[in-house]
Subunit: 264 residues, 2 copies
């Protein structure tokens, strides 16, 4: 017998315990439906969902929201024809869509951050796991070599960085997703003496401006901005590996989207 949507959700929630307030709900589909296959993805685009259906997978587990907003409420009733067309298409497809954001971030260590570190082949170098950050001690490498490694491992065509490319780094703070703000990133430099922080996305007037002043004050500091999706996709890839081990009776696939932007 195949597992139901509810069984898979329960198994994923179990290590954390049910949260009172969370965006992680079943957005579409029937919890009692038998699951023929699972697709995990960072962003549940229509393209990803269509690929899931083509693979006969009827459950999509996605990290982000369906309608261009962290909270569901911001879209419902809004005049958004693109979102409305997507909504109708999903309803007609009978696919189940479960959002797995808050729980995955609450795993110990954070499933998204751990997936990113795994994709970078940096698991041996983790020295500390905080709830929102991980700290690494890598073998001494130049910033130039680290940039090349990250671009190659994560398949990122363009990356935004600050710092001297010839600077040697060993102490790296990792912040996946929208955790690049000063409140999380600056203490990694100030208290943990990070030389380099790698984050997904963050406000440009906070951490980057701190780094600019730090470099001008003669400090050996560097910053690398991956992009939000680029930093969190590997965590959803890692989730597929985990789910495949938990539910060997059903096929599990990870689907990666193309990059949002082209850089010109």
């Amino acid at each position: 017998m195949k597992p139901t949507v509810q069984m898979i959700m329960d198994a994923l929630i179990e290590p954390v315990g049910r949260l009172e307030k969370t965006v992680d709900t079943l957005k579409f589909g029937d919890p009692s439906m038998e699951v023929t296959g699972v697709v995990t993805a960072f962003m549940p685009t229509q393209h990803v969902i269509a690929q899931a259906l083509a693979k006969k997978a009827n459950l999509v587990i996605a990290h982000e929201g369906l309608f261009f907003s962290h909270h569901d409420s911001e879209i419902t009733g809004g005049e958004n024809r693109i979102g409305q067309a997507k909504h109708r298409w999903i309803e007609e497809s009978n696919v189940a869509i479960f959002r797995f954001h808050d729980y995955w971030h609450r795993y110990m260590p954070d499933g998204i951050t751990a997936g990113l570190i795994r994709e970078l082949a940096w698991e041996p170098y983790v020295s500390l796991n905080y709830p929102a950050a991980s700290f690494l001690n890598i073998p001494p490498s130049t910033l130039r070599d680290i940039v090349a490694h990250v671009k190659e491992r994560l398949d990122i065509p363009h990356i935004r960085i600050m710092g001297d490319l010839d600077m040697t780094c060993t102490r790296i703070g990792m912040l996946a997703g929208y955790r690049g703000g000063g409140a999380l990133a600056i203490p990694l430099f100030e208290q943990e003496h990070a030389e380099l922080v790698i984050y997904g996305e963050g406000p440009e007037w906070e951490t980057p401006e701190y780094i600019r002043e730090a470099i001008r004050q003669g400090k050996r500091k560097a910053l690398m901005v991956l992009g939000h999706a680029e930093s969190e996709e590997p965590g959803m890839k890692a989730l597929a590996v985990r789910l495949a081990a938990m539910f060997p009776s059903i096929p599990v696939h990870y689907i990666k989207e193309s990059p949002l932007f082209q850089t010109i």
Copy 2:
């Protein structure tokens, strides 16, 4: 007689009227000090302030905060050695620093947005000014040509875009600064039928994901992300022109910072 810091602040605030709640306060210096020269800048880095002092300007008017945060309170007392060193250096320099953020955005039209449009030489094409956005009808141009024009006029080495470079655009929505979120940008597409929105900075999971789905649904939509500083610097340059006309007895300079990031 030269104007005082207070006189210049009053003159800048006057068109809006005093706001009850604002970040626009005198951060350093004495309001009764006679002003020998003014420097305007987007970000009051130590480098910008040092250049002001070298020009014998004792008043810096900046759009953003001094300590890597929109609100002053988030830095005070924090363990931030970079910020503390900057704080001590400014105190010793006796320079006056006035933040001009909220008021300039409340001008009609918004001084920052108007400055951006002026720098792009697109003033003749403005069709509507909303408080947070302006709407333009430019002569039909391909996205490729618009990207080239924007990069050249604003001196931006790399720009992130979405959309077909051969697509012809006339209807453009402009959102300076951190106004790229879905709540502001999506209505420009949905209600105003923008073909292209140009913004400074915004959350990557909102407007860009909307654009991705819109393009996949066959809509002619495009997005251009300038960077926060890149989108707001021209507004502080325009402020220098305005101040020079208001206070002809003192020299007024605009100082542009270098870009935060290099793209690799």
